[in-house]
Symmetry: C2
């Protein structure tokens, strides 16, 4: 299982090579679930041997975890909390980024998060960390850094709702309609607990 | 790996024996995640050999899928839609049963549904069927057998919220508080779409 000898091997630093290999995994993952990712294919795309790939990632699982971590970082970059703006605008930026990210990678997101990481604890941990970070961002947008237990729980629940709706939304529900429903819905849900997001009339 | 010879083997019909073995799995699953279930332990509890267990369930996966299906049936029994009552009362019965079921079996529910079924497609299918049935029950309670896409999606999302909140709720959020928030929240969320659940003042 060597790389095509006709194809010159490009010399990269170890860090660049790792980055390149993870980048290939991320690109392939947009269109297919992670369990269909073939190490052989990744190595071939990088123009290196399978053996060299295993030099950077000793096991398939190491590679897989690195790709999942990178996917998590990418999700977090798509859901940045803007520094400026009102609560509603800032919530909209986070949840709009989140639902857009999930909808563009639906099959893969389901395979990773729901059908579930092949039960891999490290992967579960990565996603648990992302869920916690997203909740902190929403609470910061609401100006609720120290919410009571029910409000914290409600924000977690609302994020799960956003995830489920993004996964299940077909063509007939437009992106703006979904995001509008979720932003408005958060205001409605939290109204009895007292937050600055007023539901629209 | 034979059963204790001092313990008389009770003769059961094939159907009763299958039921007994599944019942043992369900009982053990209340207190531990499914991947920690040992076939040897199940056979010992039933007073039969491991070989005889494999006579009823040819592979560990067959046993595992049968137990998951039975767990799903049990969840559906805990979330029956009452024949009588107003929309709010009927929604409360379904979601109260659901959140109570999840909270009592938290670790196991997470291992099965979230950390995810070891990626097993049959298990994922069983849970997808349960999610669809719960959504139908809620829509029936709301008197919305043919909802538009956004309302159907919203009910799915709200069920994901209920699941997440039931999983994450610590001791500091009481069962009635959680169920009250969810029932009231469904009315608030769906208010712009027009449903018979009025949010409380």
């Amino acid at each position: 299982m060597t790389a095509d000898p006709a194809r010159p091997r490009v010399r990269l630093s170890a860090e660049d090579r790792r980055g390149q290999l993870i980048g290939i995994g991320l690109r392939l993952l947009v269109s297919r679930p992670i369990h269909e990712l073939s190490i052989h294919e990744v190595a071939a795309e990088a123009g290196i041997s399978r053996g060299l790939l295993f030099h950077y990632f000793p096991t398939k699982r190491d590679y897989y975890v690195a790709v999942v971590r990178a996917a998590g970082q990418r999700l977090l970059r798509h859901t940045r909390l803007p520094d400026e703006g009102g609560p509603e605008e800032r919530v909209r930026a986070v949840v709009g980024g989140f639902t857009g990210f999930v909808r563009r990678r639906r099959a893969n997101y389901v395979a990773l998060v729901r059908a579930g990481a092949g039960g891999d604890e490290l992967v579960v941990e990565v996603f648990e960390g992302i869920r916690a970070t997203l909740a902190e961002r929403i609470l910061a947008a609401l100006g609720e850094p120290s919410p009571d237990p029910l409000m914290r729980l409600a924000v977690r629940g609302w994020l799960a709702m956003a995830e489920e709706m993004a996964i299940e939304a077909g063509e007939e529900v437009a992106a703006e309609e979904l995001v509008g429903f979720l932003v408005d819905g958060l205001g409605r849900l939290l109204a009895p607990l007292g937050t600055p997001l007023a539901p629209s009339r």
